[in-house]
Amino acid sequence: MATRGLASETRRLLRDPALLGAVAVLWLLLAFFVLYPVAELLVRAFSDEGRFTLEPLLGSLADSHHRAAFVNSLILAGTVGVLGTLLGFLFAMTATRAGLGRRWLTALDAATLLPLVSPPFTISIAIVFSFGPKGFISHDLLGLDDISAYGFWSTALAETLTYFPIAYLTLRPIIAAIDSNLEEMAFSLGGSRWRIFRTVTVPLAVPGFANAFLLLFAASLADFATPLILAGNSFSVLPTQAYLQITGMFDFKGGAVLSLMLLVPAAAVYLLQRYWVGRRVYVTVTGKVGQRSRSRAIAPWAAVLLAVATALVAVAILYFYALLLYASVVVAFGANNSFTWQHYHVIFTEGLPAIRDTLIIALIGMPLGGLYGVLVGYLIARRRFPGRQAMEIVSMINYALPGTIVGIAYLIAFNDPPVALTGGALIIVACYVFRYSPTGIRATVALLQQIDRSLEEASASLGAGSGQTFRRVTLPLIAPAFFAGLGVVFIRSMTAISATIFLVSLSWTLITVRILENMTELALGPAAAFSVFVIVVVFAVVSGLSALLLRLRTPMAGAAARSLLGG
């Protein structure tokens, strides 16, 4: 049966030149930009002067520090997953049930957007300045001395604040789509509000919880910048450890092995999400997630409580970013607080090459990433061809691997002729496209699952080839996913650092790398000014894209506008 299916799939593939061409080109790209670098990496990690060896792996597993780092990573990711999901749920409940006015909703969305579009380190640095022994909050406001801003809890707090918007964006449509009528019905049947919340609302949101938890878990697992600054000495995690192993101990093999250890939980989470949770989310996306009248199923005092709690968290976030803005307009943060535009002058003169390079790379990567995501997503969701599942898994590899490792793998794989790409812009663009397009792929798959296949079948039965059907029928339907994928590639091109720090070169550099450099020079002002610039640009582009999506008026546009940021 299976072989007959495979044979017929192969026959169909050979009869359809457009499909055959697309599949062949994609496999070539995936082989070149995903499989080949990973293979180079494995060869380095497991060979010793040409012989295969497991010694580095066994050595790492035997090292108690590394085992502790592995366990710590899981604990941190689990904590961030739980806290972030709770916070996301709080925000989602407030947005959908508390009956807030349109303006308040916009403000809420803006506050949750900030952490998603910021360059790395921003919240971490703000936490150090706020909660250190002489921090604004811990010392100046609360009068506490002798407290430490470093360790497990501050790392967990920073990551929760950074990543909870993913949970919010995942949960909000799900809760919004839980028909209030259900709650209303339970209410009119005499159920208490608390009972309705427990027995109707929460159970319906469970798949959303699971999904949000797994997304946050994965994000925390791959984060290396936050622990680098906040984890302190007694709490080490794997991604940071791998980075230090390579850049500090000059031990490339060890670093590669540590990253491979990281790959195990990352892959487990991905598979769980794909095959378990993915099948349980049946909420129909309606796109009607705007303002909602306050539900009767929520007591007025509960609505107020929700709104107040949410506002407190939102204010905390805004405070961190206000601090950043402040640091960008004073001479020397903490020492000389007189006002100056000097740092902005610096970034638009000395920093201009970095700004120019970053924008060029982001603008080239954008359409390519969008197109690639839509094409892969379409093939996976709609076409039958041999190796379809393999293609899906391979397309996720660069996304699941920690950035440091992807960066080094690219550097090794593409340095020597005939494929000498290092030093150019293409290698950075390729890194972004193949690392951050999986969002576009997933958005496309999700959208297509909501669109009836019969539309395309009608086109095919009327004699259109698969290329024509794709262009004329499917493409307009999945335009929102295209823009979502393109938006994510743009955001990451402006804000990511872990992989590309190894790919910047003498002729192509990036803003995020400049921010890191400024911080090592104690030039906090320009670092803050660069961060503010990045946030403003990304905010503008994301708002523009969202407006465009809303004007597309496809039923799915709202969902895609959210998945733009949903990771």
Binding site: I246, L363, T520
Partner: protein, 337 residues
Amino acid sequence: MKRRPFSLLAIAIWLAGLASAQAADPVNVYSIWPENYARPMFQEFEKATGIKVNFIRFSSGEALARVIAEKNNPRIDVLFGGPVETFAAGIKEGIFQPYKSPSFDKLPTRFKHADGQWTAIADDPLVFMTNAAFLKGKSLKAPASWDDLLDPAYKNQLQMADARTSGTAVTRIFSVLEVNKRDEEKTFAYLKKLRQNVQLYTKSGGGGTLPVGLGQAGGGIFFIVDALETKAKGYDVVISFPKEGIGSSAEAIALIKGAKNPEGGKKLIDFATSAAMQSKLSEHKVNFVPASPDVKTDPALAEVLKGANIFPIDDEYAGANRKRIVDRWVKEVLGPQ
């Protein structure tokens, strides 16, 4: 709408062309010195020779990882600045091309590799740096002995670098070893006691300077160049030296094996190791101590260093024991107590 991506691409290609067509035969460099120190030096070189320097700055570990990864097709000609031990690690990977500049013979032995794999361009002593307001608040004097840092008043108040990532930290640990006559038991007993007062081991050598400047930490041990930069930024910090002595690490330069522009690279090394460049350090307020015996140390810097007991770290001894000592430090000192 349809035409836009193409015009963007055209602009991109045009800009890329501009970037690559600028000058004939520039020297390509990875600098480990921060840009604000390296840039004026390269500008001086350009003025003197007409050769342009393309450079990008990386921390020592990142720079070395890149040079090793690029070994088969080097992208740069010269690795500039950074502690000697980074260069020692590079020799093992075979990434350097030995070269002896005209100034080579004049330099003391500790400022050069015997075969010319690297040459020192500057010296960088460690210092104690403390926050003035912190000292005043605790009625302390600036620490003048290694044992002063063990005072409970410093509990959870010190920041210094992590030996896994920072040359500053390795120099610090070898300083303690020298002070204790290379008695490792005594040294580690001290380091473990010091650990009680350490709030954070930072990834980079200068990582703790800003927290100390801002008062988030009371003090720490840093290279003088970073400490003086903190002061210059306007933060109220005090620099002091332990009476038992403290170590100093040389900053080096090396030619890359397989460099595309070896002649330009050699010229840059000639310039950097000569009095010509090092006499400009003081003018640009880069507070390294010149390696060349022909250059006078900046008067203000010399004033800070006056009376300080500074000794070089024996790089043969350090090179032979570095990995073992750092591993022991990670195991016994860094790990949870």
